[in-house]
Subunit: 335 residues, 2 copies
């Protein structure tokens, strides 16, 4: 955040601003409302890369004509434990919310259920989705392919997405145990930031365009990211591709292209969400709490604590936002 | 393998030898038969740590009185998409095989199903189980807690198991895409080997008993292993603990103890297997094949290739076994 100034905006004002911008972009009210809630929650938890900043992406996506601004997702009761939702080239969040009721009903009835979302424009972090599920007392695992910036371990060029995977476990009376991360060693955005600052990269983040390991951010940008955790992370990333791509009849990361690129590839893709009902498996929440206590007692942190601390600050002080971004959004709203 | 001599044994002779040893240990025929097939398959694929060598472990487990040698697993149709199997302190493999029919039936009927195995003595690699499932055209994900040798990321002492996770995707007409690995950066056995050889460890494998990073194998053995992939691997390891422990009402790794230790903790624990039927999700196997081709075309390897090559050798030449182990097993059979 060096050099940037920040200020606060109330959730109400953020909502108004987002509503104006997404209406201007011609998103339907249904499409816009889940996006707005998601962005405000991300901003409140200081996930700036998935917060109000994404209004600009979504505005641009709308203007590019590559997505369906008024899509009404089609929910299909596909099998006793499978919900399929066709996002119809609209945003993933309305599709997710449209199928969520049937998904959780199936999980509670059958013990485990899955939701496959197809043809969705996906900009949001998965923690938001899995935490909507753990808030209902259910366990969730979600994954999605993304843009092909990552070389498989031992490979030399981009093929896999940064393929995030998120998991949330409900903790009665407390915040859930949630993780949500890319299966790449770093985000492309982090490499871009270091490139601009002229900083070198940690080893094992990236390779150059010839497939050689590099700590040079410039070379990394024209090469490829690497998976986290060497061959193991790579294998998990491939699993994400398979389960949220071919399994559900949707695209691989390498069949998608960034928004506004001249590439004719699709910008929409799939997502898979698996939900387990602990009550149908004979859960012991106390045993889980014992594990969390033991982890924290030895000084290790549970994931997502930074988000939680930010949320507590935001609840008191409003949403932290960079002044530069706020000006940009206000101009977009007026323009 | 330095310094060791190897020879070949036919699968038939290996089977005879294993049958004598496990009968001598007083395993029931049902218990023994799935263990024997598993060990022979592991030996054929040169997974020596899970091959015939395990006859010694299983013999010792039997003699220790800590496991049930004649257990008949109890399969419960627990929920429409959930099978529970109580291994009754017997080996995990008979429990797995006992529930497999109902599990795959549920997965085909409902699209996704899960099997929770409780109270099982677990010595085998998970790839064997997930590949039995992918051989049926289904997708499988399996996980299990193990002995507490691993510190959580940022922690200072052992708490988590090496918590393996295995996944298998059926490839029509070919070997499945399978991975199976510990969520620790290394196996405890690998550290023990380096300790004996006086070799140092790669960084990020282990910490000493004070929680400081160490490359000294001796100090690592009295300290803790580290998860693979830093905080991400650690988060996944915790997920394995939760899903194959508290979720199914079974133990955490830290509630189990090694065979023959003076510790009074249990040596049996749980396992979770999730199965998806691709036909119920709208699969495109061709798209998956395209991904595998692209991975191999850039020189990266798919996981499990070493096992496959070993299997082809073993099919021709018989099972490779260390002469030292063969002598030990023959003595055990005679003794």
């Amino acid at each position: 955040m060096a050099g940037k100034t920040y200020e606060h905006i109330s959730p109400e004002n953020a909502r108004k601003l987002a509503t104006v911008i997404l209406a201007k972009a011609k998103f339907s009210e249904d499409q816009a409302s889940s996006m707005i809630q998601n962005m405000i929650d991300a901003q409140a938890q200081e996930c700036h890369s998935h917060g109000l900043y994404r209004l600009i992406d979504c505005y641009n996506a709308a203007k590019s004509g590559q997505i369906n601004l008024t899509a009404q997702p089609v929910v299909t009761d596909h099998a006793p434990s499978v919900v399929k939702v066709d996002a119809c080239q609209g945003n993933s969040l309305l599709a997710f919310k449209s199928g969520l009721g049937l998904l959780t009903q199936k999980a509670r009835a059958n013990g485990i259920a899955a939701m496959a979302i197809n043809n969705s424009f996906h900009y949001s972090a998965l923690w938001w989705e899995v935490e909507l599920i753990s808030d209902l007392g259910l366990v969730a695992l979600a994954m999605s392919p993304t843009l092909p910036f990552v070389a498989p371990y031992g490979g030399i060029k981009p093929l896999l997405g940064t393929n995030p995977m998120a998991f949330s476990w409900p903790r009665p009376g407390g915040d859930p145990y949630t993780f949500d991360f890319a299966t790449s060693a770093s985000a492309r955005g982090e490499i871009e930031i270091r490139r601009r600052r002229g900083e070198t990269l940690p080893p094992e983040w990236a390779i150059d365009s010839e497939g050689n390991p590099t700590t040079d951010a410039e070379r990394a940008m024209s090469g490829a990211l690497l998976p986290f955790g060497k061959h193991k992370g790579s294998a998990i990333s491939i699993m994400v591709e398979l389960l949220a791509g071919p399994l559900i009849g949707d695209l691989l990361s390498c069949q998608t292209a960034p928004l506004n690129s001249s590439d004719t590839k699709n910008i929409t893709h799939g997502e898979l969400v698996i939900v387990l009902d602990p009550a149908r498996f004979g859960v012991s929440f106390e045993a889980a709490e014992g594990l969390f206590q033991d982890i924290e007692a030895q000084g290790a942190r549970l994931p997502s604590q930074r988000r939680r601390a930010a949320k507590r600050r935001s609840d008191k002080e409003g949403l932290l936002i960079s002044s530069e971004l706020l000006v940009e959004l206000e101009q977009l709203a007026k323009g």
